[in-house]
């Protein structure tokens, strides 16, 4: 009797709901994936290189080799995500064929299209996309993204940009909540955001999908900061496996994400973590080197 309906928006968005309050970690090898799972990660992002190394290497950064992704999928039971270039829908078709659980259409990789992002409605696999403000978030959701994250500035170990982005989204949501119907139309034009989604934001008082923090999170305190600012969960890219003691730091960030409102726990888990990843001051990164500027 029961016919199974796959790839519905509820099912795509639903997996993101299950990841809430959790930490998604960038990994480049099966060994790292095991460490992440063991530390309590809710998902891993399978990559050839973490953002800090992509930044250092320069050149064109593309989807990872399927071998890397498959080897990681084999060793963990938690969902596995992988990145595609902005607009590169064929890379996305490949990841869907591999059975990846979530696709990140990511500014960390070199964009493949300067005008169009991927039509994510065309896929059964769900997508997460980065956003710096409410308009950008709603454009991505209009294209079919089932999960949003802040862009931050990847590979820097500097949380300031992620903070700027979540504060901006929060401030814009607070503004939208007070708008009348006719004001909402004008705001839709102003933000470049579809009216129906903007109306949902006004009525819900939040984005209609889960919103994670990403881009520069390096410590348990960073993770708790983003959670207290209203994020639903945390992506940690370079922050774990570029630090001195990845297993310990990973576990501490997991604890801090659950107990983000409990300073005593935060103090406990912040002890003796060893060196964090080396950080980058945003002002030292030339405008054209800033990954957050990729996409619109």
């Amino acid at each position: 009797m029961a016919t199974q309906e796959k790839g519905t928006f509820l099912v795509k968005k639903g997996l993101a709901e299950m990841l809430k309050g959790g930490v998604i970690m960038d990994v480049t090898t099966p060994e790292q994936a095991r460490i992440a799972e063991e530390a309590g990660a809710v998902s891993v992002m399978a990559l050839e290189r973490v953002p800090a190394d992509i930044r250092a290497a320069g050149g064109v950064a593309r989807m990872a080799d399927p071998t890397v992704i498959e080897r990681i999928m084999e060793v963990v039971t938690i969902p596995v995500m992988a990145k595609v270039r902005i607009g590169h829908f064929v890379e996305a078709q490949i990841l869907e064929a591999l059975g990846v659980d979530y696709i990140d259409e990511s500014e960390v990789l070199t964009p493949a299209d300067e005008v169009y992002h991927i039509n994510k409605h065309a896929f059964k696999v769900p997508f997460v996309c980065g956003a710096r403000d409410l308009g950008e978030a709603l454009r991505r959701i209009a294209e079919g993204a089932a999960m949003i994250r802040t862009k931050g500035e990847p590979g820097t170990g500097n949380v300031v940009e992620a903070v700027r982005h979540i504060r901006k989204v929060n401030e814009q949501i607070r503004h939208v909540r007070n708008l009348s119907d006719e004001e909402l139309v004008a705001e839709s034009k102003n933000l470049g955001a579809p009216l129906d989604l903007l109306r949902q934001v006004r009525d819900l008082g939040r984005l209609p999908v889960v919103n994670f923090a990403a881009g520069g999170i390096a410590t348990p305190a960073d993770a708790a900061l983003m959670m207290q600012l209203g994020c639903d969960g945390i992506f940690v890219g370079s922050g774990i496996f570029k630090s001195a003691d990845p297993a310990r730091r990973a576990r501490a960030i997991v604890m801090a994400t659950t107990h983000y409102n409990d300073p005593k726990v935060l103090a406990d888990v912040s002890h003796d973590l060893g060196e964090a990843m080396p950080g980058l001051e945003i002002a030292t990164i030339a405008q054209e080197q800033r990954m957050q500027e990729r996409g619109w």
């Binding site: 009797m1 029961a2 016919t3 199974q4 309906e5 796959k6 790839g7 519905t8 509820l10 099912v11 639903g14 997996l15 709901e17 299950m18 990841l19 809430k20 309050g21 959790g22 095991r34 799972e37 063991e38 530390a39 309590g40 990660a41 809710v42 998902s43 084999e74 060793v75 963990v76 039971t77 938690i78 969902p79 869907e96 059975g99 659980d101 979530y102 059964k124 696999v125 769900p126 997991v254 604890m255 994400t257 659950t258 107990h259 409990d262």
Partner: protein, 199 residues
């Protein structure tokens, strides 16, 4: 009626909203000492490995068993169902690294039994076994990387199946669903937990 929702990771807020709609007094539980006076505890959907490790780290496994001995009921959805199972199957990471579980319901559960995320689905579920008061129309159930109950002991009542796979079961004061009623607007299964399972 005081109900706790285990708020370590996952979609605990959706459960809290739904339980409040059903008239329960709800609190989010992050430490074992917060469980005093609870009639029931909901273990939400999420990632079972992550929730299991967080439960273990803060001494929840024994604390919940003690509360259960004192009469507290439990409702687990998806990851929550996995954590209630007596025995787990599936998942390479189980090799040599046991997943912390409560093991309170006499059932064998296979994780990710329907496949990966691209195989996640919605389906209409016949819940007539829950009784007249909750029947009427099928339940629109959302399955996300869902587990399946492969075998149940004699004390376990099967309440729902998808393609012969058991996805909803009850053992005394424990209820377990492989899907996510909390992601829908249908409160029948939560009401069943409050009105029948905890009665």
């Amino acid at each position: 009626m005081k109900i706790g929702v285990l708020a370590l990771q996952g979609d605990f807020r959706e459960h809290a909203v739904m339980l409040r709609q059903c008239g329960a007094e709800v609190s989010e539980i992050r430490k074992p000492e917060q469980m005093g006076g609870l009639r029931g505890l909901v273990v939400p959907g999420g990632e079972s490995t992550a929730i299991g490790k967080l439960m273990d780290a803060y001494g929840f496994l024994n604390a919940i068993k003690e509360r259960v001995a004192g009469g507290m009921g439990l409702f687990g959805t998806c990851a929550g169902l996995v954590l209630l199972a007596r025995e787990l199957k599936g998942g390479t990471s189980l090799e040599g690294r046991p997943q912390p579980v409560l093991g309170l319901i006499d059932m064998v559960v296979r994780r990710n039994a329907f496949g990966r995320q691209v195989d996640s689905f919605e389906a209409d579920l016949d819940i007539s076994a829950m009784g007249e008061a909750y029947n009427g129309s099928p339940f629109r159930a959302v399955f996300i990387r869902a587990p399946q109950i492969e075998a149940v002991g004699p004390g376990v009542a099967v309440l729902g199946r998808v393609e012969e796979k058991v996805v909803l079961a009850r053992q005394g004061r424990f209820l377990a669903a492989a899907f996510h009623p909390e992601l829908t607007s249908d409160t029948r299964i939560h009401r069943y937990f409050l009105e029948e399972v905890l009665a």
